[in-house]
Symmetry: C2
Subunit: 155 residues, 2 copies
DNA sequence: CTATATTGTTTGTGAGACAAACTAAAAATT
DNA sequence: AATTTTTAGTTTGTCTCACAAACAATATAG
């Protein structure tokens, strides 16, 4: 039956015929996470470090903003940034408008790694998506984005 | 630009126009993981414990098979199952055909929790997918499954 | 100006992951 | 059959990651 996720019996809940989409989305997300994980591993980056670099590519958020975006406790962010800083991937910049706070940004090293690893991911996910036709890829991208942006909405 | 993931410059790699699908899939997978995480948290289950329960719903794999499926080291499985067993979610059953090995299966408690949490996930992802039309949901489910099964293929 | 709230760190605890060394049993060799 | 080699799982030690509670410094509200 090939179900490694969660589709309980069959009392449809919110929209009709939920369980199939639930299961396939969960399944897909594990596959993607696995690909991301392996890509990160090439550069010895944990999933959360990888995600951090991804976020910092075009932002210099405060510790607080990072906590919100990553849905982590602020004390977890302290540790995360400590470790990333120790590896010269990011740096804390004193906030100009709040003397308590810091903004976090990529170092040149961090930016380079982020770029390289981006290529790695591109390659691997591209390969994965290779089982689809060009039209299907477009559809999938658009539907995926629509769902992803449904919650918390576009920036 | 609302990109929190990874789409490096724009030299298409494998198929054409990769970067859009890469980004939206990565994005989607984070959203799904976040939903799964919150659902698990309701029952005080970590992401990996949650995934374990999902796998055990219709299997009684050996420790070794779990390691393969979860892509974890065998020693990580020992710890994972220890903790789950301590919480009476799963149990080790001595393998009938190999006196070194165990199969792992859900306890009745574990099965109940798995069922309940399944409903929780169903509800939350169903809600998320509510931004799509019924037709779109079908499309998405089918495309997602196709990609997910591309690697390692159906069981 | 004082009271309160907010930003981030520290400390302590536990889960989770890995690698290397180890035990017991199974499988392959001779 | 006896011996070697592989395999399944555990142990130990080390690190990352996450949280919560207590704390310091600064900002904001009254």
């Amino acid at each position: 039956m090939n179900n490694e996720t969660f589709n309980p019996a069959s009392q449809p809940s919110v929209p009709e015929n939920t369980s199939s989409i639930v299961d396939s989305l969960a399944q897909l997300s594990y596959v993607i996470q696995s690909v991301l994980g392996r890509s990160g591993a090439v550069y010895d980056l944990s999933p959360i470090q990888l995600r951090l670099l991804g976020i910092l590519r075009d932002r210099e958020p405060s510790m607080k903003q990072l906590a919100e975006r990553l849905e982590l406790d602020k004390s977890s962010i302290t540790g995360l940034i400590d470790r990333a800083e120790r590896r010269h991937l990011v740096e804390r910049i004193p906030s100009p408008e709040d003397r308590r706070g810091f903004n976090v940004r990529l170092t040149p090293d961090g930016r380079r790694i982020a770029r390289e690893i981006g290529g790695e991911i591109e390659r691997r996910i591209g390969e994965l998506a290779g089982v689809l036709t060009e039209a299907e890829r477009g559809q999938l991208a658009s539907l995926a984005l629509k769902v992803a942006e449904a919650r918390s909405g576009p920036d």
